[in-house]
């Protein structure tokens, strides 16, 4: 799992960049995410994955991993708690699926 699934034409890449670059769009996303997703030229598959916070699916569809981490921050915030922010752990929970609990236990977290 790395850069091998990356698809430069996947529009979610553009959406995450626009959310970072456009404060107004970000405010609209926070207030009415469904409307922003409906208005943006995404596929239904992308909209569903974003709505369901299915980061693994977004990775598989071709969202760049760095933008994936930024989407997790957009959704879960930037607060840091002892180095493992909620954004990072929620992202890993989705990426690892069934293996998440054992992975985190092994790390002692």
């Amino acid at each position: 799992m790395a850069l091998d699934r990356f698809n430069p034409l996947l529009r979610t890449n553009d959406l995450v960049q626009d959310l970072k670059w456009d404060r107004d769009l970000r405010a609209r996303f926070e207030a009415d995410e469904a409307q922003v997703l409906a208005d943006y030229p995404l596929s239904d598959e992308e909209r569903t994955a974003i709505r369901e916070r299915d980061f693994r699916r977004l990775h598989e569809l071709g969202l760049h991993p760095y933008l994936l981490s930024q989407l997790a921050r957009l959704i879960h915030g930037t607060g840091e708690k002892a180095g493992t922010s909620q954004a990072a752990t929620e992202l890993i929970r989705s990426l690892l699926g069934d293996q998440y609990e054992s992975y985190m236990a092994e790390r002692g977290e």
């Binding site: 799992m1 790395a2 960049q17 992202l91």
Partner: protein
Amino acid sequence: MAEISLALAASHTPGLTGWFDKAPDEDRRIVRRAYDAIHQAVLDSRTDVLLVIGNDHVANARVNDYADFTFGLAERHTGPDEWFKPWLRVADYALPGAPDVAATLHDQVRDSGRTVRAVRENLRFDDNLSVPSAMADLPGTGVAVVPVLQNCTVPPVPDERACYAFGQALGTAIRTALPDGLRVGLLGSGGLSHEPGGPRYLEIDEEFDRWWLDLLVAGDHERVLAEATFERMEEAGSGGTAELLSWVVVMGAIGPRPCTSLGYSAVDQWRCGVGAVQWDLS
């Protein structure tokens, strides 16, 4: 002829400014010492213009139209970009640019075979420039800065040999096309091991990091290029560790030389191996 006055590389990670105090005292001391040494080296070398080469983090172009290298031509470089402020927690800064130097270098290397852009407007800077600026107090040195943002993560990524060749072209351009007496420094900004947005987001590959630093200290660039390939970097943390390609650009510009490690620290909470080196230019 201008002269390369200084060659450095150092990590950047939001943790160094955003949550520095999560690390143990000893790690904080190591990292503080390294960036203090960088600050002092900029002053001692009487560097006029510092090129900061660093990963763009997909912040200045669409992923379907992505340059390999982007020169910042602004009169002043300001940051951090608004989106990163709550994360980086650094004071707003303004670094003097060097538009003429940037434009000349861009002109010299734009036919190097890579996609090379020059941008007159202020670029969006995240930790790539903001962390070294804050940690090494670059504004306090008075040095002018030319940012050279780089594609380390958007396939197809210019690999280690492409980056080394770009560095060679950049070094030649500095030595032959810039005004006599100008003292130009190089700072590679990025790495060490980390995997932002991947399943190993919380991990640091300390073994790789120490191996990499030892390899650089030894100074055999052909061996570095043969062994520390882009693929090897990806194995040590996908989409992040290859920011070390910025160090490779610096190595290309100065040619085979040993360096001194300024320190290394692996703190999980920073989510990135943190190290720095200074090359011996004597």
